[in-house]
Protein backbone atom coordinates (compact mmCIF):
# COMPACT_ATOMS: atom_id res chain seq x y z
CA UNK A 1 0.00 0.00 0.00
CA UNK A 2 1.30 3.43 -0.94
CA UNK A 3 1.93 5.42 2.23
CA UNK A 4 1.27 8.71 0.48
CA UNK A 5 -2.37 8.04 -0.21
CA UNK A 6 -4.67 6.02 1.96
CA UNK A 7 -7.00 5.63 -0.99
CA UNK A 8 -4.48 3.88 -3.21
CA UNK A 9 -4.94 0.18 -3.17
CA UNK A 10 -8.47 0.21 -1.82
CA UNK A 11 -9.51 -1.63 -4.94
CA UNK A 12 -7.86 -4.94 -5.59
CA UNK A 13 -5.74 -5.01 -2.45
CA UNK A 14 -6.01 -7.68 0.20
CA UNK A 15 -8.36 -7.22 3.13
CA UNK A 16 -5.56 -6.50 5.59
CA UNK A 17 -6.09 -2.76 5.23
CA UNK A 18 -9.54 -2.92 6.70
CA UNK A 19 -9.77 -2.50 10.43
CA UNK A 20 -13.35 -3.62 10.74
CA UNK A 21 -14.09 -7.23 11.31
CA UNK A 22 -10.77 -7.62 13.10
CA UNK A 23 -10.30 -8.21 16.78
CA UNK A 24 -9.36 -4.65 17.64
CA UNK A 25 -12.66 -3.28 18.73
CA UNK A 26 -12.12 -3.03 22.49
CA UNK A 27 -11.53 0.66 23.24
CA UNK A 28 -9.95 -0.33 26.57
CA UNK A 29 -7.64 -3.02 25.17
CA UNK A 30 -4.65 -3.27 27.48
CA UNK A 31 -5.99 -0.71 29.96
CA UNK A 32 -5.88 -1.79 33.60
CA UNK A 33 -9.56 -1.97 34.54
CA UNK A 34 -9.07 -3.25 38.09
CA UNK A 35 -11.59 -1.57 40.36
CA UNK A 36 -9.68 0.34 43.08
CA UNK A 37 -10.00 -0.85 46.67
CA UNK A 38 -12.86 0.77 48.53
CA UNK A 39 -14.92 1.38 45.38
CA UNK A 40 -18.12 -0.61 44.94
CA UNK A 41 -17.76 -2.27 41.54
CA UNK A 42 -21.51 -2.58 40.92
CA UNK A 43 -22.11 1.08 41.75
CA UNK A 44 -19.14 2.14 39.65
CA UNK A 45 -20.60 0.24 36.69
CA UNK A 46 -23.98 1.95 37.10
CA UNK A 47 -22.29 5.34 37.39
CA UNK A 48 -20.36 4.71 34.17
CA UNK A 49 -23.66 3.74 32.51
CA UNK A 50 -25.20 7.04 33.64
CA UNK A 51 -22.45 9.13 32.08
CA UNK A 52 -22.07 6.82 29.11
CA UNK A 53 -25.80 6.75 28.34
CA UNK A 54 -25.90 10.57 28.45
CA UNK A 55 -23.26 10.75 25.76
CA UNK A 56 -24.55 7.81 23.71
CA UNK A 57 -28.09 9.14 23.53
CA UNK A 58 -27.10 12.75 22.86
CA UNK A 59 -24.62 11.54 20.26
CA UNK A 60 -27.45 9.74 18.46
CA UNK A 61 -29.60 12.89 18.53
CA UNK A 62 -26.74 14.96 17.15
CA UNK A 63 -26.10 12.36 14.46
CA UNK A 64 -29.71 12.84 13.34
CA UNK A 65 -28.67 16.37 12.37
CA UNK A 66 -26.27 15.03 9.80
CA UNK A 67 -27.02 16.69 6.42
CA UNK A 68 -29.74 18.91 7.97
CA UNK A 69 -27.84 21.83 9.50
CA UNK A 70 -28.30 25.28 7.95
CA UNK A 71 -24.68 25.41 6.77
CA UNK A 72 -22.16 22.78 5.81
CA UNK A 73 -19.68 23.99 8.44
CA UNK A 74 -22.26 23.66 11.21
CA UNK A 75 -23.31 20.27 9.91
CA UNK A 76 -19.71 19.11 10.24
CA UNK A 77 -19.41 20.69 13.67
CA UNK A 78 -22.46 18.79 14.92
CA UNK A 79 -21.17 15.54 13.44
CA UNK A 80 -17.84 16.14 15.17
CA UNK A 81 -19.58 16.66 18.51
CA UNK A 82 -21.55 13.47 17.96
CA UNK A 83 -18.33 11.61 17.28
CA UNK A 84 -16.63 12.97 20.41
CA UNK A 85 -19.60 11.98 22.55
CA UNK A 86 -19.83 8.56 20.93
CA UNK A 87 -16.15 8.01 21.68
CA UNK A 88 -16.72 8.94 25.30
CA UNK A 89 -19.73 6.62 25.39
CA UNK A 90 -17.68 3.69 24.08
CA UNK A 91 -15.05 4.15 26.78
CA UNK A 92 -17.65 4.58 29.51
CA UNK A 93 -19.78 1.60 28.49
CA UNK A 94 -16.68 -0.56 28.15
CA UNK A 95 -15.57 0.63 31.59
CA UNK A 96 -19.02 -0.20 33.00
CA UNK A 97 -18.87 -3.72 31.55
CA UNK A 98 -15.34 -4.30 32.86
CA UNK A 99 -16.30 -3.14 36.36
CA UNK A 100 -19.38 -5.36 36.58
CA UNK A 101 -19.86 -7.90 33.76
CA UNK A 102 -23.27 -8.88 35.17
CA UNK A 103 -24.84 -5.67 33.79
CA UNK A 104 -24.17 -6.72 30.20
CA UNK A 105 -27.29 -8.17 28.54
CA UNK A 106 -26.82 -11.83 27.70
CA UNK A 107 -26.75 -12.72 24.03
CA UNK A 108 -26.97 -16.08 22.25
CA UNK A 109 -23.94 -18.28 22.89
CA UNK A 110 -21.12 -17.55 20.50
CA UNK A 111 -22.31 -14.01 19.73
CA UNK A 112 -19.34 -11.85 18.71
CA UNK A 113 -21.03 -8.63 19.94
CA UNK A 114 -18.64 -6.85 22.35
CA UNK A 115 -19.89 -5.76 25.76
CA UNK A 116 -20.15 -2.06 24.89
CA UNK A 117 -22.35 -2.90 21.90
CA UNK A 118 -24.47 -5.29 23.96
CA UNK A 119 -25.09 -2.44 26.39
CA UNK A 120 -25.88 0.04 23.63
CA UNK A 121 -28.09 -2.14 21.47
CA UNK A 122 -29.65 -4.76 23.73
CA UNK A 123 -31.05 -2.78 26.65
CA UNK A 124 -34.60 -1.47 26.90
CA UNK A 125 -35.35 2.21 27.44
CA UNK A 126 -36.08 1.57 31.13
CA UNK A 127 -32.51 0.30 31.59
CA UNK A 128 -30.95 3.47 30.21
CA UNK A 129 -29.69 5.88 32.86
CA UNK A 130 -29.31 9.06 30.83
CA UNK A 131 -30.73 12.43 31.81
CA UNK A 132 -33.76 13.39 29.74
CA UNK A 133 -31.99 16.48 28.38
CA UNK A 134 -30.07 14.07 26.14
CA UNK A 135 -33.07 12.22 24.73
CA UNK A 136 -35.84 14.65 23.82
CA UNK A 137 -36.38 14.90 20.05
CA UNK A 138 -34.55 17.47 17.98
CA UNK A 139 -36.22 20.73 17.07
CA UNK A 140 -34.85 23.61 15.04
CA UNK A 141 -31.25 24.85 15.00
CA UNK A 142 -31.86 27.01 18.08
CA UNK A 143 -32.98 23.88 19.90
CA UNK A 144 -29.72 22.02 19.29
CA UNK A 145 -27.73 25.13 20.25
CA UNK A 146 -29.58 25.48 23.57
CA UNK A 147 -29.45 21.74 24.30
CA UNK A 148 -25.72 21.59 23.63
CA UNK A 149 -25.06 24.70 25.68
CA UNK A 150 -26.97 23.46 28.73
CA UNK A 151 -25.59 19.94 28.47
CA UNK A 152 -21.98 20.86 27.82
CA UNK A 153 -21.87 23.41 30.64
CA UNK A 154 -23.14 20.79 33.08
CA UNK A 155 -20.97 17.99 31.71
CA UNK A 156 -17.81 20.06 31.57
CA UNK A 157 -18.28 21.05 35.21
CA UNK A 158 -18.61 17.38 36.19
CA UNK A 159 -15.69 16.21 34.05
CA UNK A 160 -13.34 18.87 35.38
CA UNK A 161 -13.74 17.35 38.85
CA UNK A 162 -13.87 13.79 37.58
CA UNK A 163 -10.28 14.22 36.35
CA UNK A 164 -9.36 13.51 39.99
CA UNK A 165 -11.60 10.44 40.29
CA UNK A 166 -10.40 7.57 42.48
CA UNK A 167 -10.99 5.36 39.45
CA UNK A 168 -8.04 5.86 37.10
CA UNK A 169 -10.02 4.87 34.00
CA UNK A 170 -12.79 7.38 34.73
CA UNK A 171 -10.17 10.04 35.49
CA UNK A 172 -8.49 9.43 32.13
CA UNK A 173 -11.78 9.45 30.20
CA UNK A 174 -12.69 12.72 31.96
CA UNK A 175 -9.35 14.37 31.20
CA UNK A 176 -9.86 13.65 27.52
CA UNK A 177 -13.52 14.66 27.62
CA UNK A 178 -12.72 18.05 29.16
CA UNK A 179 -10.71 19.04 26.09
CA UNK A 180 -13.54 17.98 23.79
CA UNK A 181 -16.42 19.47 25.77
CA UNK A 182 -14.59 22.80 25.91
CA UNK A 183 -14.95 23.03 22.12
CA UNK A 184 -18.63 22.04 22.28
CA UNK A 185 -19.46 24.57 24.98
CA UNK A 186 -17.73 27.43 23.19
CA UNK A 187 -19.47 26.61 19.90
CA UNK A 188 -22.88 26.48 21.59
CA UNK A 189 -22.19 29.65 23.57
CA UNK A 190 -21.22 31.60 20.45
CA UNK A 191 -24.29 30.47 18.56
CA UNK A 192 -26.50 31.21 21.57
CA UNK A 193 -25.26 34.81 21.55
CA UNK A 194 -25.45 35.05 17.77
CA UNK A 195 -29.06 33.88 17.64
CA UNK A 196 -30.08 36.00 20.63
CA UNK A 197 -28.54 39.13 19.09
CA UNK A 198 -29.54 38.29 15.51
CA UNK A 199 -32.95 38.95 14.03
CA UNK A 200 -36.30 39.05 15.82
CA UNK A 201 -36.96 35.62 14.37
CA UNK A 202 -33.68 34.07 15.54
CA UNK A 203 -34.20 35.52 19.03
CA UNK A 204 -37.78 34.29 19.15
CA UNK A 205 -36.66 30.80 18.24
CA UNK A 206 -33.80 30.85 20.74
CA UNK A 207 -36.08 31.93 23.60
CA UNK A 208 -38.59 29.31 22.53
CA UNK A 209 -35.95 26.56 22.63
CA UNK A 210 -34.76 27.74 26.04
CA UNK A 211 -38.29 27.68 27.39
CA UNK A 212 -38.83 24.21 25.96
CA UNK A 213 -35.63 22.68 27.33
CA UNK A 214 -35.45 24.52 30.65
CA UNK A 215 -37.68 22.07 32.58
CA UNK A 216 -34.98 19.42 31.94
CA UNK A 217 -32.12 21.61 33.18
CA UNK A 218 -32.51 20.94 36.90
CA UNK A 219 -32.33 17.17 36.42
CA UNK A 220 -28.70 17.42 35.28
CA UNK A 221 -27.79 18.73 38.74
CA UNK A 222 -30.08 16.43 40.72
CA UNK A 223 -27.89 13.69 42.12
CA UNK A 224 -28.90 10.05 42.05
CA UNK A 225 -27.95 8.28 45.33
CA UNK A 226 -25.06 6.54 43.53
CA UNK A 227 -23.70 9.86 42.29
CA UNK A 228 -23.71 11.02 45.90
CA UNK A 229 -22.30 7.93 47.59
CA UNK A 230 -19.78 6.51 45.12
CA UNK A 231 -16.29 7.69 46.05
CA UNK A 232 -15.16 7.67 42.40
CA UNK A 233 -18.13 9.82 41.27
CA UNK A 234 -18.81 13.55 41.12
CA UNK A 235 -22.02 14.75 42.75
CA UNK A 236 -23.56 16.97 40.06
CA UNK A 237 -25.29 19.01 42.78
CA UNK A 238 -21.88 20.15 43.95
CA UNK A 239 -20.93 21.66 40.58
CA UNK A 240 -24.19 23.54 40.09
CA UNK A 241 -22.81 26.83 41.36
CA UNK A 242 -19.84 26.86 39.01
CA UNK A 243 -22.01 25.75 36.09
CA UNK A 244 -24.45 28.56 36.88
CA UNK A 245 -21.66 31.12 36.68
CA UNK A 246 -20.80 30.00 33.15
CA UNK A 247 -24.44 29.95 32.04
CA UNK A 248 -25.00 33.41 33.51
CA UNK A 249 -22.02 34.72 31.53
CA UNK A 250 -23.55 33.49 28.29
CA UNK A 251 -27.01 34.78 29.22
CA UNK A 252 -25.58 38.21 30.11
CA UNK A 253 -23.74 38.58 26.79
CA UNK A 254 -26.86 37.37 24.94
CA UNK A 255 -29.10 39.65 27.01
CA UNK A 256 -31.38 36.78 27.91
CA UNK A 257 -33.00 36.46 31.31
CA UNK A 258 -32.42 33.24 33.23
CA UNK A 259 -35.74 31.37 33.49
CA UNK A 260 -37.06 30.59 36.97
CA UNK A 261 -35.98 27.27 38.47
CA UNK A 262 -38.23 24.35 37.58
CA UNK A 263 -37.42 21.65 40.11
CA UNK A 264 -37.14 17.98 39.26
CA UNK A 265 -39.48 15.78 41.24
CA UNK A 266 -39.69 12.04 41.74
CA UNK A 267 -37.91 9.49 39.60
CA UNK A 268 -35.62 10.72 36.86
CA UNK A 269 -33.74 9.47 33.82
CA UNK A 270 -31.03 8.26 36.18
CA UNK A 271 -33.63 5.83 37.62
CA UNK A 272 -34.67 4.68 34.16
CA UNK A 273 -37.70 6.96 33.86
CA UNK A 274 -37.77 8.44 30.38
CA UNK A 275 -39.94 10.20 27.88
CA UNK A 276 -41.58 8.16 25.16
CA UNK A 277 -39.12 9.62 22.66
CA UNK A 278 -36.26 7.51 24.03
CA UNK A 279 -38.08 4.28 23.15
CA UNK A 280 -38.72 5.52 19.66
CA UNK A 281 -35.12 6.60 19.20
CA UNK A 282 -33.79 3.29 20.51
CA UNK A 283 -36.14 1.33 18.28
CA UNK A 284 -34.47 2.88 15.27
CA UNK A 285 -30.96 2.77 16.71
CA UNK A 286 -31.13 -0.85 17.84
CA UNK A 287 -33.22 -2.60 15.22
CA UNK A 288 -30.43 -3.87 12.98
CA UNK A 289 -28.17 -5.03 15.80
CA UNK A 290 -31.08 -6.84 17.47
CA UNK A 291 -32.07 -8.57 14.25
CA UNK A 292 -28.54 -10.00 13.98
CA UNK A 293 -27.23 -10.85 17.46
CA UNK A 294 -24.69 -13.19 15.85
CA UNK A 295 -23.61 -10.56 13.33
CA UNK A 296 -20.02 -9.47 12.91
CA UNK A 297 -19.72 -5.80 11.97
Amino acid sequence: MNDESVYDGLLGGDSSQWAFGTDFEDPLAGVDTTVPAGIDAADLAVYCLMLGDDTLVLSQRLAEWCSRAPELEEDIALANFALDLLGQARLLLARAAAADPSIVPSLPEGSPVPAEDALAFFREAGQFRNVRMAEVPNGDFAHVVVRLLLFSIARLAVLQRLRDSADAVLAAVAAKGVKELAYHRDWAGRWFVTLAQGTDESRRRLLGALEQLWPLHDEMFTAHPIERSLAAAVDPGEVRAEADIILDQVLAVADVERPALISTRGRTGRDGLHTESLSLMLAEMQVVARAHPMGLW
Binding site: D3, E4, S5, V6, S16, Q17, W18, A19, F20, T22, F24, E25, P27, L28, A29, G30, V31, E73, I76, A77, N80, L83, D84, L85, L86, G87, Q88, R90, L91, L156, Q160, R163, A168, V169, A171, A172, V173, A175, K176, G177, V178, K179, E180, A182, Y183, R185, D186, W187, G189, R190, V193, E242, I246, Q249, V250, V253
Partner: protein, 165 residues
Protein backbone atom coordinates in the same frame (compact mmCIF):
# COMPACT_ATOMS: atom_id res chain seq x y z
CA UNK B 1 20.19 -3.83 16.09
CA UNK B 2 18.41 -5.53 18.96
CA UNK B 3 14.98 -7.07 18.53
CA UNK B 4 13.52 -4.17 20.45
CA UNK B 5 15.25 -1.55 18.30
CA UNK B 6 14.09 -3.27 15.14
CA UNK B 7 10.49 -3.57 16.37
CA UNK B 8 10.48 0.05 17.54
CA UNK B 9 11.81 1.21 14.18
CA UNK B 10 9.08 -0.68 12.30
CA UNK B 11 6.33 0.64 14.60
CA UNK B 12 7.65 4.20 14.35
CA UNK B 13 7.22 4.15 10.57
CA UNK B 14 3.52 3.24 10.61
CA UNK B 15 1.51 6.19 9.31
CA UNK B 16 -1.60 7.91 10.51
CA UNK B 17 -4.50 6.79 8.32
CA UNK B 18 -6.08 10.25 8.10
CA UNK B 19 -2.90 12.32 7.88
CA UNK B 20 -0.58 9.91 6.07
CA UNK B 21 2.22 12.49 5.92
CA UNK B 22 2.68 11.78 9.64
CA UNK B 23 3.94 8.62 11.26
CA UNK B 24 2.28 7.54 14.50
CA UNK B 25 5.54 8.53 16.19
CA UNK B 26 5.43 12.03 14.61
CA UNK B 27 1.86 12.41 15.79
CA UNK B 28 2.77 11.42 19.35
CA UNK B 29 0.19 8.62 19.28
CA UNK B 30 2.75 5.84 19.61
CA UNK B 31 3.61 5.98 23.29
CA UNK B 32 5.79 2.93 23.79
CA UNK B 33 7.16 -0.19 22.12
CA UNK B 34 8.56 -3.04 24.19
CA UNK B 35 9.28 -6.73 23.88
CA UNK B 36 7.76 -9.03 26.48
CA UNK B 37 9.06 -12.56 25.91
CA UNK B 38 8.29 -13.22 22.23
CA UNK B 39 5.52 -10.62 22.06
CA UNK B 40 5.99 -7.11 20.72
CA UNK B 41 3.79 -4.76 22.74
CA UNK B 42 3.00 -1.39 21.16
CA UNK B 43 1.07 1.23 23.16
CA UNK B 44 -0.97 3.94 21.46
CA UNK B 45 -3.24 6.70 22.71
CA UNK B 46 -6.27 8.14 20.89
CA UNK B 47 -6.12 11.75 19.71
CA UNK B 48 -9.86 12.25 20.32
CA UNK B 49 -12.15 9.89 22.28
CA UNK B 50 -14.12 9.07 19.16
CA UNK B 51 -11.20 9.03 16.73
CA UNK B 52 -12.37 6.49 14.13
CA UNK B 53 -8.78 5.93 13.03
CA UNK B 54 -7.87 4.09 16.22
CA UNK B 55 -8.94 0.69 14.95
CA UNK B 56 -7.05 1.26 11.71
CA UNK B 57 -3.93 2.34 13.61
CA UNK B 58 -4.05 -0.79 15.73
CA UNK B 59 -4.61 -2.94 12.69
CA UNK B 60 -1.79 -1.27 10.74
CA UNK B 61 0.65 -1.75 13.62
CA UNK B 62 -0.12 -5.44 13.81
CA UNK B 63 0.18 -5.93 10.06
CA UNK B 64 3.43 -4.00 9.72
CA UNK B 65 5.08 -5.73 12.63
CA UNK B 66 3.83 -9.13 11.51
CA UNK B 67 5.12 -8.50 7.99
CA UNK B 68 8.48 -7.48 9.47
CA UNK B 69 8.83 -10.88 11.10
CA UNK B 70 7.31 -10.41 14.53
CA UNK B 71 4.62 -13.08 14.69
CA UNK B 72 3.16 -12.07 18.04
CA UNK B 73 2.04 -8.47 18.40
CA UNK B 74 -0.15 -6.89 21.03
CA UNK B 75 -1.46 -3.34 20.83
CA UNK B 76 -2.48 -1.67 24.07
CA UNK B 77 -4.44 1.51 24.55
CA UNK B 78 -3.07 4.15 26.92
CA UNK B 79 -5.58 6.75 28.10
CA UNK B 80 -3.48 8.64 30.62
CA UNK B 81 -2.12 11.21 30.08
CA UNK B 82 -4.56 12.37 27.40
CA UNK B 83 -3.02 13.12 24.00
CA UNK B 84 -1.98 16.69 23.37
CA UNK B 85 -1.20 18.33 20.03
CA UNK B 86 2.00 19.50 21.74
CA UNK B 87 3.24 15.93 21.25
CA UNK B 88 3.46 16.33 17.46
CA UNK B 89 7.20 16.32 16.78
CA UNK B 90 9.15 19.04 14.94
CA UNK B 91 9.62 16.55 12.13
CA UNK B 92 5.84 16.01 12.10
CA UNK B 93 5.16 19.75 12.03
CA UNK B 94 7.47 20.16 9.05
CA UNK B 95 5.71 17.24 7.32
CA UNK B 96 2.33 18.89 7.92
CA UNK B 97 3.53 22.18 6.41
CA UNK B 98 5.03 20.36 3.43
CA UNK B 99 1.65 18.72 2.84
CA UNK B 100 -0.19 22.05 2.96
CA UNK B 101 -1.55 21.78 6.50
CA UNK B 102 -0.97 24.30 9.24
CA UNK B 103 0.50 22.72 12.39
CA UNK B 104 -1.06 23.46 15.79
CA UNK B 105 0.17 26.21 18.09
CA UNK B 106 0.75 25.58 21.80
CA UNK B 107 -2.10 23.64 23.44
CA UNK B 108 -4.05 25.23 26.31
CA UNK B 109 -2.70 23.99 29.60
CA UNK B 110 -4.37 20.86 30.92
CA UNK B 111 -5.86 20.98 34.40
CA UNK B 112 -7.60 23.82 36.17
CA UNK B 113 -10.93 25.36 35.21
CA UNK B 114 -11.65 25.76 31.50
CA UNK B 115 -12.38 29.39 30.60
CA UNK B 116 -15.47 30.16 28.51
CA UNK B 117 -14.52 31.66 25.12
CA UNK B 118 -17.37 33.47 23.42
CA UNK B 119 -15.24 35.42 20.96
CA UNK B 120 -13.75 33.89 17.83
CA UNK B 121 -10.78 31.62 18.44
CA UNK B 122 -7.64 33.72 18.07
CA UNK B 123 -4.71 31.93 16.57
CA UNK B 124 -1.62 33.17 14.77
CA UNK B 125 -2.00 30.88 11.78
CA UNK B 126 0.45 31.11 8.88
CA UNK B 127 -0.53 30.00 5.39
CA UNK B 128 1.37 26.76 4.74
CA UNK B 129 1.49 27.55 1.01
CA UNK B 130 2.71 31.15 0.76
CA UNK B 131 3.79 31.82 4.34
CA UNK B 132 1.49 34.81 4.74
CA UNK B 133 0.27 35.64 8.23
CA UNK B 134 -2.96 37.06 6.76
CA UNK B 135 -5.37 34.22 7.27
CA UNK B 136 -8.99 33.89 8.32
CA UNK B 137 -10.92 31.08 9.91
CA UNK B 138 -13.63 29.59 7.74
CA UNK B 139 -14.83 27.00 10.24
CA UNK B 140 -13.65 25.69 13.58
CA UNK B 141 -14.58 22.20 12.41
CA UNK B 142 -13.00 20.66 9.35
CA UNK B 143 -12.85 17.34 7.57
CA UNK B 144 -11.84 15.50 10.74
CA UNK B 145 -12.33 16.22 14.43
CA UNK B 146 -8.73 17.36 14.77
CA UNK B 147 -8.75 20.08 12.09
CA UNK B 148 -10.19 23.58 11.55
CA UNK B 149 -10.63 25.14 8.12
CA UNK B 150 -8.78 28.37 7.25
CA UNK B 151 -8.23 30.53 4.20
CA UNK B 152 -5.23 32.65 3.26
CA UNK B 153 -6.35 36.18 2.41
CA UNK B 154 -3.20 36.78 0.32
CA UNK B 155 -2.95 33.70 -1.89
CA UNK B 156 -6.65 32.89 -1.29
CA UNK B 157 -5.97 29.16 -0.86
CA UNK B 158 -8.04 27.32 1.75
CA UNK B 159 -6.13 25.00 4.08
CA UNK B 160 -6.58 22.81 7.13
CA UNK B 161 -5.23 23.82 10.52
CA UNK B 162 -4.54 21.05 13.03
CA UNK B 163 -6.24 22.20 16.22
CA UNK B 164 -4.62 22.75 19.57
CA UNK B 165 -5.95 20.31 22.15
Amino acid sequence: MTVLERAAAVAAEVRDPEMPMLTLADLGVLRDVRVEGDVVVASITPTYSGCPAMATMRDDLVHRLTDAGFPRVEVRVVLDPAWSSDWITEHGRAALRDAGLSPPGPAPSAGGPVPLLLGPTRRAVTCPRCGSAHTERVSEFGATACKALYRCTDCLEPFDHVKEI
